[in-house]
Symmetry: C2
Subunit: 348 residues, 2 copies
DNA sequence: AAAATGTCCGTAAACGTTTACCACGCCGCT
DNA sequence: AGCGGCGTGGTAAACGTTTACGGACATTTT
């Protein structure tokens, strides 16, 4: 069942059917009524592929995330989808799982699908691969790491602001031994967060001890491992900033296994403010980076670029701010000024 | 740049290009080599829409989930995507967010996209809307609730098994006052879980008190509210089964606010075994329902149906089992046989 | 009253593939 | 030598839309 069936039944040409459906030209009220009637009676739905083929626009945006399994991203996907369908766009979603092979595959899929633009929210997995995309002159939107080029937008995140707030918050409570669990450092945003941490520490006049900077992976497991490593040291930090919330949650879980009470023995701060952050125990103090805001920004950037006929040579920059959210995972350091006592396990 | 450019450059016809690319007929080694060379040199990627149009197969499967924001689903999406791309399929993803409007929209999007099949993993939001899909004779796969019909597969979940294990586990520790937090009951699977709970209680000879069965929504907030309500009662349960893990986590969070220690004052059991279940504090005892298994089953069902030329009149049934995973959120009831003492807050 | 303008609508080409059909050349058989 | 069969490659139709172009008619202008 196609547009010709509709045309036949409404006794008009296919052109008229197309015009009434797309409201792209005025068509006589009587005819339009007949068309709509035929559409309803036949249960006609236009064929998206055919439309795409002839119009040269697929009305699909690619969305590349690093790991949909990380609770940071579903929120983004959800709102990206919501605003996309409002504008009659579809999404071609893929998660790269930090795997270059999958990134390559993703690019191929995007091109074969003839998407009208791609949002690359992998926080720094950009590559020569993207050259393929660039080559096609596709609208792109990156987070943090995009090159200055026509048709590519960039969402810059002000990581430093929230992180500085976090460090100040800890310092105000007289923490001096503050550690940091990084993300995977080949991710640009992970490196930036760590740098912002070190920078903030120096600003305040606190020492950044190299052994207090320990590697995570932005996953739960990395947080666990990080705390394990940290507690093999002779002297431990009294507070710990984490590169994202998943890391922080992993840290808290490991603390539980080790019998370390949060926040009494160790203050923990996360990053992202995923929804779960308010539901772990204790509720996690964290730096908020609005996922819905990010998704909307990304979509708007793409849409704007699609509509623009004369792109700016350097692309467009957007800004996303961050902000500390106080909850219950931080407090004063234990035994202020004294040696640390191992605390009893919370299990009884 | 299209197949004709490739043909021209390789000095063959478009038919030959198509044949070598799709490996659908034997083509002379020399010619094939020339074709591949041309493809590489031009950076040619076939146009998916054109392919779909002429072949009548879009190689896209629809995937409808209820809420991608619920950590149960990302896991499914991830593995569904992984196996889909292995078979050269794309995904048209949508989450209905329990909203009939969005369900309607989803169906329309699926049809306009001419998907080759749809996996409906909403646990019971099926509707007259699906008649549109059925009407098109599309392969469908449901979880729990699909009708017996040609081209529709069904994944039956053995909720009862895991839930019975959970109740037995609790009963073995001499819990007698066991409560249940339901999901949204218009979801078939939520009702089934509750029924399985009541059934198991009766089997064991434990009373199911109506006031101990309280309404949740399969979200964190519902769990919080449920425990609030429960603790307004004169007498409280000593153990609580939850219709899913998110609910259980909400319960635990509210317990924290109320100063109720888990599991000392209250044993909690979840359902689903989302990854986070092992990372909350204390680690959640829960009934596992493998998300990766589910995703694979759904995809295989669709793929099989697509290939099948003579579908069975009643569709196909698949089975997914469930199983209790013991962790640390359950223990013996407090003050066995005595009145409950309010316990001190965990915060100090 | 004729010309000019405007409003609708239909015809047909075009989008980029796949594939049915046919032509060609080669091989082996009688 | 002639013929059938087979392996291979090209021609062109088809998929379901949108839209440029032109025609028919109505309305306004001269």
């Amino acid at each position: 069942m196609d547009i010709r069936d509709v045309a036949k039944r409404a006794k008009v040409s296919t052109a008229t059917v197309s015009r009434t459906i797309n409201q792209v030209a005025t068509v006589d009220t009587q005819l339009a009524k007949r068309v709509w009637k035929a559409v309803a009676e036949l249960g006609y739905y236009p064929n998206r592929q055919a439309r795409a083929l002839v119009s040269g626009k697929s009305r699909v945006f690619g969305l590349i995330v690093s790991e949909i399994t990380n609770p940071f991203f579903p929120e983004i996907v959800q709102t990206f989808e919501t605003v996309a369908v409002e504008h009659n766009y579809e999404i071609l979603l893929t998660s790269t799982i930090h795997d270059p092979k999958r990134m390559e595959l993703a690019v191929r899929r995007m091109i074969e699908g003839r998407v009208d633009g791609v949002a690359i929210l992998t926080f720094g997995m950009e590559d020569e691969l993207l050259a393929h995309l660039r080559f096609r002159n596709l609208p792109l939107v990156f987070i943090d790491v995009g090159p200055k080029a026509p048709r590519v937008s960039n969402i810059r995140v002000d990581y430093a602001h929230g992180i500085r707030q976090a460090v100040q918050h800890l310092a105000a409570m007289k923490h001096e031994r503050i550690g940091f669990v990084t993300g995977p450092l080949r991710l640009r945003s992970a490196a930036v967060r760590r740098d912002a941490f070190e920078e903030s520490m120096r600003e305040i006049g606190l020492p950044v001890k190299p052994e207090f900077i320990v590697a995570g992976d932005h996953r739960l497991e990395g947080g666990k491992r990080a705390l394990q490593d940290l507690y093999k040291l002779r002297e431990q930090p009294t507070a710990l900033l984490c590169s994202n919330d998943m890391t922080a949650i992993g840290v808290m879980r490991q603390a539980f296994d080790l019998g370390i009470a949060i926040p009494r023995d160790l203050s923990v701060v996360g990053f992202d403010d995923i929804r779960m952050a308010d539901f772990v125990i204790p509720p996690l103090t964290t730096v908020q980076m609005s996922q819905t805001e990010l998704a909307k920004l990304a979509f708007d950037a793409l849409l704007r670029e699609v509509k623009r006929d004369d792109p700016t040579p350097d692309g467009t920059e957007y800004l996303l701010t961050t902000q500390l959210i106080l909850r219950s995972s931080t407090t004063f350091p234990p035994d202020l000024g004294h040696a640390r006592q191992p605390s009893a396990s919370k299990r009884d």
